[in-house]
């Protein structure tokens, strides 16, 4: 069972995502939510690193938070899985422990 890492701040605001990527383990998952979803954009400053990390971890973004910020599916990096609130719950159940990088 991998660890679920939660990122809720944008990469322009804090280094939380980069710092998280430095320490993730193989098989872990990262969920981008709230302002954290800005990292999921193709144009985000951390896009290259995020794509590189996909060999090791799976990256998810919370769809309602993308929609709330006007981020369309085609603007999202390839390889990022969009999840609903229900998907968020499922990720929480299938991972252990959960660490949020505020």
């Amino acid at each position: 069972m991998g660890v679920l890492h939660l990122i809720n701040r944008s990469p322009g605001e804090t280094q939380a995502l980069g710092q998280c990527l430095d320490r993730v383990g193989a098989g872990d998952s990262i969920l981008l939510l709230e302002s954290g979803v800005y990292a999921a954009m193709k144009s985000s400053i951390i896009a290259v690193r995020l794509t590189e990390s996909m060999a090791k971890v799976s990256i998810h973004a919370l769809a309602p938070d993308l929609a709330a910020r006007g981020i369309a599916t085609e603007e999202v990096l390839e390889g990022i899985e969009l999840v609903s609130y229900e998907g968020f719950v499922n990720l929480s159940i299938s991972h252990h422990p959960i660490l949020s990088w505020n």
Binding site: G2, V3, Q15, Q19, D22, R23, V24, G25, A26, D28, P97, I98, L99, S100, W101, N102
Partner: protein, 118 residues
């Protein structure tokens, strides 16, 4: 008994959050749980030796860290890379701590029952 891991990534003097977190940590430890603390990134500055705040309205966290010894906190883990990136080493910290490499962090997190971001 649960294995708790508290992760500290922020420097000192950013409000009273750190003191509240220390109270939480000491309470958990006082309930005989297994408590470890991991210091990453600027969080390693929390343990820097010789902090001498003289502002009357700033409640320092450094003396409170020393009180952790009263509650059988297992280990203070400090990431080696976070230390060296900031020109620090274990000998420049105010408390005995254990260094851990970045590559080993994922395991430390995965082994915990409960991880708390501080």
């Amino acid at each position: 008994m649960k294995k708790f891991l508290f992760v500290m990534r922020h420097p000192p003097y950013q409000g009273i959050g750190i003191l509240e977190n220390l109270d939480m940590i000491m309470t958990v430890a006082a309930f005989d749980q297994c408590v470890n603390i991991l210091f990453l990134d600027d969080g390693v500055f929390l343990l820097k030796a010789n902090q001498t705040p003289d502002h009357p309205h700033v409640k320092p966290s450094s003396p409170v860290f020393a009180a952790l010894a009263m509650y059988d906190v297992e280990t203070l883990w400090v990431e080696q890379e976070s230390l060296s990136e900031r020109g620090l080493s274990l000998s420049k910290l105010m408390l005995p701590a254990q260094s851990i490499n970045r590559a080993e962090i994922a395991n430390l997190i995965a082994e915990a029952d409960i991880v708390v971001n501080c």
